[in-house]
Symmetry: C2
Subunit: 194 residues, 2 copies
Amino acid sequence: MRALQARGETERSHINSRELGEASGVADAQVRKDLASIGATGQPGVGYAIPELMEDLRASMGLHRTWKAVLVGAGNIGRALLAYPRFAEEGFDLVAVLDRAPSVVGRKLAGHTVQPMSAVADVIRRTGAELGIVAVPPSEAQIVAEMLVHAGVRGVLNFAPRPLRLSGSVAVVAVDFTETLERLAFETTMKRSL
Amino acid sequence: MRALQARGETERSHINSRELGEASGVADAQVRKDLASIGATGQPGVGYAIPELMEDLRASMGLHRTWKAVLVGAGNIGRALLAYPRFAEEGFDLVAVLDRAPSVVGRKLAGHTVQPMSAVADVIRRTGAELGIVAVPPSEAQIVAEMLVHAGVRGVLNFAPRPLRLSGSVAVVAVDFTETLERLAFETTMKRSL
Ligand SMILES: NC(=O)c1ccc[n+]([C@@H]2O[C@H](COP(=O)([O-])OP(=O)(O)OC[C@H]3O[C@@H](n4cnc5c(N)ncnc54)[C@H](O)[C@@H]3O)[C@@H](O)[C@H]2O)c1
Ligand SMILES: NC(=O)c1ccc[n+]([C@@H]2O[C@H](COP(=O)([O-])OP(=O)(O)OC[C@H]3O[C@@H](n4cnc5c(N)ncnc54)[C@H](O)[C@@H]3O)[C@@H](O)[C@H]2O)c1
């Protein structure tokens, strides 16, 4: 996907499975098999048309549809996410905000009225949200994630620095700035030795 | 590095360049060359001792030392970063916070007194900070990054959804939650089809 985006910018109209294989470290035949399984077809000798291939990839990755997400935790991280315009641009819609602090419940933040945690099942049923964003202190993350899964979400974005133990049928992705900082430390070290 | 961490957990004591090559998609001979350049030595027929190799890798990636960073922007993201314990654990030390809003300058946040932007050169000289974290609105990100680089930082962590144009000698890493959300959308889609 990243390899295609990079190539798409070079005005070339087609790409073949060998080039894709090299860019992603996957064998040529495997690329053809994977692409066939998502319905992408190439022409022998010419390859895959890049714009169509991007479409097929995005659709197969579930990126074509809008995803509804509920946010739990209206603290620093929660408020930064509510004010972040890029989500809506990418098809992610924050449909509700919940928190347990009485001083926060009922306040209006970025167009949402903060709901109490007792409303989580109602909110998920009413909005049809499939994703939950956990932006609470580490000690609360597991309980909150379980409440979200119990109420029906199928994917959890976890900001708390604490691994979650959830059922195998739920996707969990952790956000960890430390990995990004490590990458920065590495790149800064490399730049110095150039 | 990730491949090693995974293997390190399997109680094996050694790993050879062929296995490392397979795990990271790099040719066997290239692995040996790269590792030699960071001073890691393997024994013929036995391979590299995993704990020593991890040490060498971390040192070469600049992860052995502490990194000092200054934070610009004491808003939502800034405050969340100041309260985040994992940075210090990983050897990243937030040594100063700066902001331009008069209502924020002079306040105490997580043990730091917020400094005005006019103090950026002083602060970087006094603390010896090498990294700068940009947590300001998108329209301000470029100016703030240039001020940080001009004052001497050599790596920038950018939270604003706006690409920065900085000198090639400066490392820039952007934090973008949207990539993480895309990964979550993809994994949630995959889990459903299992
Ligand atoms: N991933 C990263 O790199 C990174 C960086 C910074 C912060 N964090 C983490 O993000 C999380 C949020 O940080 P923050 O600065 O926004 O914290 P915060 O304290 O500002 O906000 C937490 C919010 O969660 C609410 N809350 C607490 N327990 C709850 C519960 N059981 N149910 C519902 N709401 C509850 C609180 O009322 C508060 O509004 C923390 O776990 C923090 O460690 C992660
Ligand atoms: N990377 C992501 O996925 C993600 C997610 C959420 C927010 N963000 C981005 O992070 C940035 C910060 O978000 P936030 O919610 O903390 O914003 P915020 O408005 O709460 O805070 C911004 C702070 O920057 C200060 N500031 C503005 N201009 C400045 C300047 N020229 N010099 C010094 N300080 C200045 C303001 O006074 C304020 O305190 C924004 O660019 C936002 O789009 C990114």
